[in-house]
């Protein structure tokens, strides 16, 4: 991944969070990869080709991201945080990835009474122009599946999100123990990603 653009100094609260939880030498909140097209991961340097319009990744910031602690045996967990869009057009987060998980999906939760279930969110997360979209337990979240490692409390994990225009942004999220966020997956075999039999917990 080419990280050829760095976000401006993050807002104080982001900085406090990241700095407090990051080692002193790694206090970088966002390393944005703002490439000109879907080939975000290509190694070519596209700095000079950036279109005149604002890329979604450039307008994007995340405040207070965190990941629910989980063991590799538990296989699943989720990423939360407040996604903010500083531009004057809506941006859409369409995909995410992290080294910690083999599969990452964007999920929504529906609740009936005290029973919650989650499913993939069609079309991704829309972050309104000049507004924010909050990922939190019991609501939209970035679902991590096929965990390849334990995510231990107090550790950190890097998450890369991709927007509809192909630009990507990476942020670091601390891992927190959390008892909630136990929605059942609406598993119907149509997920197509090969996660059958993972049970409902994450």
């Amino acid at each position: 991944m080419t990280a050829h653009r760095t976000a401006p100094a993050p807002r104080p609260r982001s900085a406090a969070l990241t700095a407090a939880l990051a080692s002193a030498t790694a206090a970088v909140t966002l390393a944005l990869t703002a490439c000109g097209g879907p080939a975000a991961e290509s190694e070519q340097d596209t700095t000079g080709e950036a279109a005149a319009e604002v890329l979604a990744a450039d307008a994007f910031t995340v405040t207070d991201p965190w990941v629910k602690a989980a063991t590799a045996r538990e296989e699943m967990t989720a990423v939360f945080g407040e996604l903010t869009n500083a531009s004057d057009t809506d941006i859409t987060l369409v995909a995410a990835r992290t080294e910690a998980a083999g599969t990452v999906e964007l999920h929504e939760v529906s609740t009936e009474g005290v029973d919650s279930s989650m499913r993939e969110k069609e079309g991704g997360f829309v972050i309104p122009a000049g507004g924010s979209h909050t990922l939190e337990p019991g609501a939209d979240h970035i679902m991590l599946m096929d965990l390849g490692q334990d995510l231990e409390p107090g550790a950190e994990t890097a998450v890369t999100v991709e927007f509809a225009d192909g630009s990507t942004a990476t942020f670091t999220a601390p891992v927190k123990e959390y008892a909630g966020a136990n929605e059942e997956y609406e598993g119907d075999g149509d997920r197509g990603q090969g996660h059958e039999g993972h049970g409902g917990e994450h």
Partner: protein
């Protein structure tokens, strides 16, 4: 919903930038502008009037309008978490305090300690500003900081786990005292979190949040909660009274003085403790039932001070110097040989400590226990606390009603800057 909350939190932050006052002094509550407060009071008054009118319409007898609050709200007051020194030592004592002691799990190694301290530092700093900790499932409870401070203390076990060579000589159990009846249930522990605020709900929520982030690394060894007079009940700076009715803590080191610097913050060794201090926490049970049998003159003789204002028996005002040489008409010492103030005194100016204790009063289904959570901060317990306690242990009539049943010593590391965590110099020094 969360977005709105964040917006409010940001407003609070902006408000604090201009209004913040270190040390919990009388600053306007962050996020509550004076205009807000005035409007709040007016609105409450209008509400009461409207309610009265409504009652009248319904043919009910109008009730007296409630008195408007006499004081400004204090729930928004904050004490800065970040700084060279940890908050909660010099901070004028808040009304409520919980001392929470944790023992590290066997599998928690130095890296685990580091992760734990990062998490707890982040939690404590956020909550000190009246913001929820990250992943707080009851964020609304964090909105009233009420001068919240969270102070970290490291027991010998934690320091040994990280770096056995970094343990100060004095960090560990105090010498045995004859009069102590220590219960190990209140004994030494690896990590202490002293959580203080002027609101008990704030203390409970903060303790709960810290525990949620600690449980992957440690288990609770003990938790001791205490109280002083409620916020606003007495003028700030009034010396506390313990449950025996005594003015307790008259002779105390004063923050900001040279003596305080030397005798509380003087720790120069080991290097990771520079800017830190030590905490001695003793659970002192008080036998109030037998104290009830003692009449007022005898009670005053036991201490050597008057009960009404705490003045020495040789003086008239609380802070009058104690005159140990004074004798009465029959030639007897006015302050008896066995009196607490006489025994606690010394000519050695280094044998002084800073006391910041809390009363406790627990009544379960069986016999209750009341007493004092004696908390003292000093540069070196072995040179400051122990000699004083030796003299009291040898002779102090107060011992007849007071018994230490718990005792623990902690190293209080220096504070940290934003982006750092408490104890970083120990972990990464």
């Amino acid at each position: 919903m969360r977005g709105r909350r964040r917006e409010r939190a940001r407003e609070n932050e902006r408000a604090r930038e201009s209004e913040h006052e270190r040390g919990g002094g009388r600053s306007r509550p962050a996020g509550f502008s004076r205009r807000h407060l005035l409007l709040g009071g007016t609105a409450a008054g209008l509400g009461a009037t409207a309610a009265t009118a409504a009652h009248g319409l319904l043919g009910e007898a109008p009730r007296a309008a409630p008195e408007p609050p006499a004081t400004e709200l204090n729930g928004g007051l904050t004490v800065a978490f970040h700084g060279v020194r940890q908050a909660g030592v010099e901070t004028p004592p808040q009304a409520h305090g919980t001392f929470l002691a944790l023992d590290l799990a066997p599998e928690t190694d130095a890296d685990g300690v580091r992760r734990l301290l990062r998490l707890l530092t982040d939690d404590a700093s956020r909550m000190s500003r009246g913001e929820p900790a990250l992943a707080d499932s009851e964020p609304e409870l964090a909105a009233v900081p009420a001068r919240l401070t969270t102070t970290f203390g490291f027991g010998r076990g934690l320091v040994e786990r990280v770096d056995p060579g970094a343990v100060p000589d004095w960090l560990g159990p105090l010498p045995e005292f004859d009069h102590d009846r220590l219960d190990d249930a209140w004994g030494e522990a690896d990590l202490l979190l002293q959580v203080c605020a002027d609101d008990p709900v704030t203390v409970a929520h903060t303790v709960r949040m810290l525990l949620k982030d600690a449980r992957a690394f440690a288990r609770v060894r003990w938790s001791q909660s205490g109280f002083r007079r409620a916020y606003g009940s007495q003028p700030a700076g009034t010396t506390m009274r313990n449950l025996m009715g005594q003015v307790d803590g008259t002779v105390n080191l004063v923050p900001g003085t040279d003596d305080f610097e030397r005798l509380v913050w003087g720790t120069g060794e080991p290097a990771w403790l520079r800017g830190g201090t030590s905490l001695v926490l003793r659970r002192i049970a008080t036998d109030l039932d037998t104290w009830d049998e003692v009449d007022r003159p005898a009670r005053e003789a036991v201490i050597g001070r008057r009960l009404d204002n705490g003045a020495p028996l040789t003086g008239s005002a609380e802070h009058d110097e104690v005159d140990l040489a004074a004798t009465d008409a029959s030639g007897l010492a006015v302050i008896p040989e066995f009196a607490h103030v006489r025994r606690a005194r010394t000519d050695d100016p280094d044998q002084r400590i800073f006391r910041r204790g809390y009363n406790y009063d627990q009544r379960g289904a069986g016999d209750g226990e009341a007493g004092l959570l004696f908390a003292s901060f000093q540069t070196d317990p072995s040179r400051q606390f122990t000699p004083i306690q030796r003299r009291l242990d040898e002779l102090d009539l107060l011992n007849q009603w007071t018994t230490a049943v718990g005792s623990a010593v902690f190293a209080v590391p220096p504070g940290c800057a934003e982006g750092e965590y408490v104890g970083q110099a120990l972990l990464e020094g």
